[in-house]
Symmetry: C2
Subunit: 364 residues, 2 copies
DNA sequence: AAGAAGTTGGAATGCGCTTTCCCAATCAGA
DNA sequence: TCTGATTGGGAAAGCGCATTCCAACTTCTT
């Protein structure tokens, strides 16, 4: 028994399908009150649920918004997803989810799949990559996005524009000032710290990581410090853990070396919170204490990690808002509405806030 | 410029749409090699992307799977979502996401929306509620689910069956032995603890919470302990925090009361990890230490929380698997396949594992 | 009071694709 | 060489809905 159709409802109500359609779905033309009631009643008694696919086909628009993340279980993406979800709800649209592990080739597949489903818009979160191995993937991805936009799709990407993408109409970027914020973090850290700095970064070519590394170095330079060494590992907790082990060894070596007088301590900047937590776990597993033996800071201010002790110094990013903005950017009228300039690509920018806590020796 | 259509491809290839359809999408009939190549080439040169809506309409099946969670940013749901997503990928389907905050009425809306989109199946995660205020919502939800199943939809719910739902064909439940596991946790805890127990639970009527509370009490009883007092608050971090404040006051009072000789310490069981973390944060903010002044245990073993110190005793649940199983249960052939019995509703069961850690004084 | 302007419901068309059903061509068997 | 069985491609009928165009009314206007 398939679900009942508009035609059945119409027949039961003794009207034409056209009329039934008009009353059941917001059409410009409102049929007479009595007829409308009859139709509505018929629909209710049949348990009629409009077929969104058919509606979509007829109107060529689906009420769908595609969300692309690296990993939905990563709290960073989960937070963004929440924002997207909320905004989608406001706009009475549903979100389609795709996870790609961050590979541009996979992302291209996801875009194609969304396009096939005629999603009205697509939100892409997760660091862009410009690594060599991703060159082809990026090219495919941007080609796919181009096509999607040209066919009237809206896309918003969080952070960086897709590598190689041309800025056509319907292409939005929610910019995240990673570099600047990392610089500010470095500056504030440098203000209260005499020791060396070391950066735990993701693989080279991951734009988000690179930006944060670069910004941090700039911040150090402005503060008159020498550049920090950069350790590279995976952009997740285990990457942080590995780097942490490496650093533990160094710290211990340094400690035993200079016998009594402790050398200036190390301050570790991990380019995101989960890496920082991983690194912290590694230090701890090696018997080191934070911030006694080393300070540590992250980036993102992941909610679930706020109860971590010692509280992690980090840069708060309005993750949920980012998701919301990205969604809204793709949301309203197609283009050139009443609002601000809306020709071609649009760029939103959010901001963050340096948040010093115990892990770098801050008071609270 | 709308995306190109099958007909255009067919025209370019000089064949009929029927033939084009047959070669481009897995049909039983395979056209001749030369023709197939021509069609494929035409499709490639046009950048043809099949319109999934139209396909869905024609075949009445969408390749969509709906996922309903309370909150996608909650790590519990995020983990389940990851499992669902993975399984969906295996089945070459896409997931539609809906968040409801746990209200049955909202869940009903979500089911209706999924039904409208003709999702092939629906996975519902998140505790069922049997509170009075949700009575109507539950009734609507189960009616909606019934209809959905009767129309050939597959639904899998995690934990408990939907309150009031009848077990028809296509209705699956992935059972989580909350009660038993909580009992085991209580037993193990009682083995190494002399003091009192207190339970921090969610609102009464939240089935998952209730089960865990009940199981814990049973475990205590079997261990010859008296039943624990139950504090109720919200089923999230802030609920845990509030309860934690309340408990802090009591602990302090008790401590000051019996001057030197410390009274037996309190062991707090929070019915999920985030509540436990909240409670722990509250104790800490009141200057209490764990496990020195009180022990604490949670439930779920949320991944992001594993680096929390002191490490949280908890019950590990295979969250990702749960999502996977639920998805697979709705996945394969409609019913009565080659596998096990498949008439009517089906029930899968996962299991968990008590994991004692530092927060309750365990060695490591 | 008669024609213009505005309503209101219905018939018909099309969205893009799948899937019978049909027909011409090919092949095996006799 | 002819018949019956296959095969391979095309024509056409929907899938369920929105929407344009029409026809039949109703309400104003002068």
């Amino acid at each position: 028994m398939a679900a009942s159709t508009l035609t059945e409802v119409a027949r039961l109500a003794g009207v034409s399908p056209a009329t039934a359609s008009r009353v059941l779905n917001g059409s410009a033309r409102k049929p007479g009150k009595d007829i409308a009631d009859r139709v509505r009643q018929a629909a209710a008694s049949l348990g009629y649920i409009p077929n969104a696919q058919a509606q979509g086909l007829a109107k060529s628009s689906s009420g769908l918004i595609g969300l692309i993340v690296h990993d939905i279980a990563d709290p960073y993406f989960a937070a963004i997803a929440r924002g997207v979800q909320e905004a989608a709800r406001e706009q009475r649209r549903m979100v389609l989810l795709a996870t790609t592990g961050g590979a541009p080739a996979e992302e291209k597949e996801a875009v194609a799949a969304f396009a096939a489903r005629r999603a009205d818009s697509i939100v892409i979160a997760g660091s862009r990559s410009c690594r060599d191995e991703d060159r082809d993937g990026n090219a495919e991805l941007s080609a796919e996005l181009d096509r999607y936009c040209r066919n009237g799709g809206q896309v918003a990407v969080v952070g960086h524009p897709v590598v190689g993408a041309t800025a056509l109409e319907g292409y939005h970027v929610v910019k995240v000032p990673n570099q600047e914020l990392a610089g500010r973090l470095a500056a504030e850290l440098a203000g209260g710290w005499d020791g060396e700095f070391v950066i735990v970064g993701g693989p080279e070519g991951l734009l988000t990581s690179d930006d944060r590394v670069r910004g941090f170095q700039e911040g150090l330079e402005r503060a008159g410090r020498r550049p920090a060494e950069v350790l590279r590992s995976a952009f997740n907790r285990s990457g942080g853990y590995e780097a942490g082990l490496e650093l533990s060894a160094r710290i211990k070596a340094a400690q035993s070396e200079d016998g009594g007088t402790p050398s200036p301590k190390l301050c570790i900047f991990a380019v995101n919170d989960v890496m920082a937590i991983g690194a912290a776990a590694a230090l701890r597993s090696e018997g080191l204490r934070i911030p006694r033996d080393a300070a540590i800071a992250g980036f993102d201010d992941i909610e679930t990690l706020r109860d971590f002790r010692p509280a992690l110094s980090t840069v708060r990013l309005p993750l949920e808002d980012i998701g919301r903005y990205a969604t809204r950017a793709t949301g309203g009228r197609p283009a050139g509405g009443d609002g601000e300039a809306a020709e071609g690509a649009s760029f939103d920018e959010v901001t963050g806030e340096v948040t010093l806590r115990r892990s770098t020796g801050a008071a609270a």
